[in-house]
């Protein structure tokens, strides 16, 4: 449906109305980068709902992480399934076809050396609403040609050689490794629990609205996008009417406009807004929410700030453990090579 160039976001410009944007599920982009030996914040592709077919013009080391898409690799006249969550060496002329996710909503494709689009305000991520950054400020379309790092070919081989302690499986023509990492951020059950702390306008709502917000489940509306996830379900009534002076918002702010249906602000949200904030989604659960698609259900679960920070720390540590394990593979002594 939509593929954009994303990195870990454009920070430091919200005072002039530029939101950080970046990968909706940043942990999965970081994991994909680690899998190809990149630093974690290099630009990759965010692939949503339906993937592109990519033709590679040089040898390339790549990895797909995040949602579990079906992917097929056409190499040397053979068509093979392309494994996820591990580095795969492609050769010039290979074609990668990514179709649809079996589980999750967004996959991240990282390439050794990253994608070489010009940075805008210090980041390569795409901010669609302002047509800024990424590839011409827009989603990719058929016929586009993306530049890789100048040394992508050499990096692919140098890094793949470093992995040779895990021998290639030449019998199947696939140049990859025998290990993979566990996907992160993929929702396990439905309705998916989305933990959130109290919003600063919580007391504006009726007790009935607060009870419904926490007890009922909400369905993600088809009108959701990178700016916000609109929720369908109980309409939340305000105990006190009146406008709110426009003020800053945050990633994960759950705001309630006049129609009473909550909207969760996502990566491309507006930096300020005048709607009542009933809750704020815990940072730890943003990536998981981003892996849900319209039609799926969530349940908002109240937690304390201390709990939310502890969750974020636990998520961060688990990601670091996975990344360290990958780095060890790159540094492993090469057996008989």
């Amino acid at each position: 449906m939509q593929t954009t160039v994303q990195d870990c976001g454009r920070h430091g410009w919200q005072h002039v109305g530029v939101v950080p944007s970046g990968a909706m599920d940043c942990a999965s982009l970081q994991l994909a980068n680690a899998l190809v030996g990149n630093s974690l914040d290099l630009a990759g592709l965010e692939i949503t709902l339906r993937g592109p077919t990519l033709l590679f013009q040089c040898d390339t080391l790549l990895a797909l992480a995040g949602a579990q898409f079906g992917a097929r690799l056409n190499t040397g006249g053979h068509e093979l399934p392309c494994p996820l969550n591990r580095p795969v060496l492609l050769h010039a002329g290979d074609r990668l076809s990514i179709d649809q996710p079996r589980h999750g909503f967004r996959a991240y494709l990282a390439i050794a050396g990253g994608i070489d689009v010009a940075p805008t305000l210090g980041s390569r991520c795409t901010y669609l609403a302002a047509a800024m950054g990424g590839f011409e400020g827009r989603a990719l379309k058929k016929g586009d040609s993306l530049r890789l790092a100048g040394d992508a070919h050499d990096l692919a081989h140098v890094r793949f050689d470093q992995l040779a302690g895990d021998p290639t499986t030449a019998a199947t023509q696939l140049h990859s490794v025998r290990w993979s990492v566990a996907p992160r951020s993929l929702p396990r059950d439905e309705p998916t629990a989305v933990r959130c702390v109290d919003g600063r306008h919580r007391h504006f709502f009726t007790p009935g609205a607060l009870a419904a917000f926490e007890a009922d489940s909400y369905r993600i509306s088809p009108q959701s996008n990178r700016m916000g996830y609109r929720m369908l379900g109980a309409r939340l009534e305000r105990a006190q009417a009146g406008d709110i002076l426009s003020e800053p918002t945050a990633l994960g702010t759950v705001q309630v406009p006049a129609d009473g249906l909550p909207i969760v602000l996502m990566a491309d949200h507006q930096t300020t807004g005048g709607y009542a904030k009933i809750a704020e989604v815990a940072t730890a659960d943003i990536g998981r929410l981003a892996q849900l698609r319209p039609g799926q259900e969530v349940r908002f679960v109240r937690c304390t700030l201390a709990e939310a920070r502890a969750l974020a720390q636990a998520e961060h540590q688990a990601l670091q453990v996975a990344i360290q394990a990958i780095r060890l593979k790159y540094n492993a002594p090469t057996a008989g090579h």
Binding site: H15, A129, V197, L245, T253
Partner: protein, 241 residues
């Protein structure tokens, strides 16, 4: 800038989720408080603390977005309170005001889409509306809604008109529009419900410029009237035709 009275009412710090802190100075908009917020936000940003990702001033509050990893996942409220206190001292020492920005504007009928309507609502002639807009002493209260989209305070009270009942689906790039006590400038073709008085040929936001936004929070803004010829010439230079 009324520092003595302001010091009597310290701002309120509130969590804005687990990775940001909202600093609320007032529950209503007043221009002196807003000016103080702009100076503080600028001072907080210029300290380049490694854990501060963004300092976002708004009408009567500001937000500090933090990097939780850099703070070791501890509560960001106290570090923000400390940074704020340090910058309050800066503010007293500096007493800085924003840059003065001159914005060329063409009020001709083709661009001043709602001048007739404003004239009818206010009982002023079109020329009086233009004069009063041009001579209003504006300041940037907040940049938000879209990149580079300023909210300007200081509009002549006699020009106060409500928002239009039917918003336009696409405002022209550079359209200058008013509603209630404020004025905005549309950086992109985006929907808008404010009444258009004219248009600037300048590029309001350009991510590839060293200073991407024409308007920064706290800037003072003066509009300078240009005619159609002047508009075309500048639009050619800016590539906004």
């Amino acid at each position: 800038m009324g520092a003595t009275t302001n010091r009597q009412k310290p701002p309120t710090l509130l969590a804005l989720g687990d990775s940001a802190v909202l600093v609320e100075f007032a529950d209503h908009l007043d221009l002196a408080t807003n000016a103080r917020i702009q100076v503080l936000a600028q001072a907080m940003r210029s300290r380049s603390m490694p854990w501060v990702r963004d300092v976002v001033p708004a009408l009567a509050s500001l937000a500090v977005h933090v990097d939780p990893v850099a703070l070791g996942f501890t509560d960001p409220v106290e570090p923000v309170r400390l940074l704020l206190a340090q910058c309050l001292n800066d503010e007293l020492a500096l007493g800085r005001t924003g840059n003065l920005v001159h914005i060329p504007i063409c009020y001709e009928t083709e661009f001043g889409l709602d001048l007739d309507d404003i004239s009818q609502r206010t009982g002023l002639s079109v020329e009086q509306v233009v004069q009063r807009h041009q001579h209003s002493e504006f300041m940037v209260l907040m940049v938000g809604f879209a990149p580079g989209h300023p909210y300007l305070g200081g509009l002549a009270p006699s020009l106060s008109v409500p928002r239009r009942s039917a918003p336009r689906v696409k405002m022209p790039c550079g359209a200058v529009a008013i509603a209630n006590a404020q004025c905005v400038v549309y950086p992109f073709e985006i929907p808008g419900g404010w009444s258009v008085v004219g248009r600037t040929p300048l590029r309001v936001f350009d991510g590839n410029r060293r200073q991407p936004s024409l308007f920064e929070p706290g800037d003072q803004v003066r509009f300078e009237r240009i005619d159609r010829g002047g508009f075309d010439e500048l639009a050619r230079k800016e590539g906004t035709e």
